[in-house]
Symmetry: C2
Subunit: 134 residues, 2 copies
């Protein structure tokens, strides 16, 4: 077990200054979502112990759970051998997906292109985010 | 359970024509790696049942396991609610990481920036890929 120190800015970011962050449920090990962080969002996540992302569509910081209350408490955090991807194991409160499903990965794709929706939504997105949200 | 059909080109790719693909062990649920596919790599993965990626550094198709023999048999495949990320649950033979570790995510990052290497390599990369490989 080697130990060293790393600063958020020493991770590898893409041309837009972002690094993909995989979010996994620490208990069930289900992969919940993938979102992007810039180095400041990485720093905020490390210091607060909750997930902060950079929203590409809204071009602003996004504290996951801000609107829905479904915050993610970070229990373990990893970066990969290329330093260009993060993996966060979290305690997920409620559903992670804005469509109301527990995981964003609820569209199963078969080899012949058939798509099957797995599971059931845990909440009605219109009630949580209002009718205007996607 | 709604059922429909989707073609690889109907997924959402980034400006470089790529979509991130998270690879997870179907049995242990450990997240092994993240790599990128273009629509042709998605089609090859669907038709062969093994993972095919687009290597950004080498700018060519990359059939995972080609050099090491550690191929990944795809057991389940998902896309997310934004259609811009894939999740593949695979049977992993041997180690997924080119550094010889089972998972590429073996660098644990603590809130204060301390990095701890978790686990032990399963193989010596120099013996598998030769001394020139990174």
């Amino acid at each position: 077990m080697q130990v060293k120190q790393i600063k958020p800015e020493e991770l590898k970011y893409n041309g837009d200054g972002l690094i993909p962050a995989i979010v996994q449920d620490v208990e069930t090990k289900e992969v919940l979502m993938l979102a992007y962080m810039n180095s400041e969002a990485v720093a905020k996540t490390l210091s607060t112990g909750e997930t902060w992302f950079w929203s590409r569509s809204r071009q602003k910081f996004w504290h996951k759970g801000e609107s829905s209350g479904n915050v993610q408490r970070v229990k373990e955090m990893y970066f990969d051998c290329d330093k260009d991807t993060l993996l966060l194991l979290v305690e997920q409160r409620g559903a992670a997906c804005h469509e109301g499903y527990y995981s964003c990965f609820h569209y199963a794709l078969a080899g012949d292109g058939t798509v099957t929706v797995k599971g059931e939504p845990l909440f009605n997105p219109e009630e949580v985010y209002g009718k205007e949200s996607k």
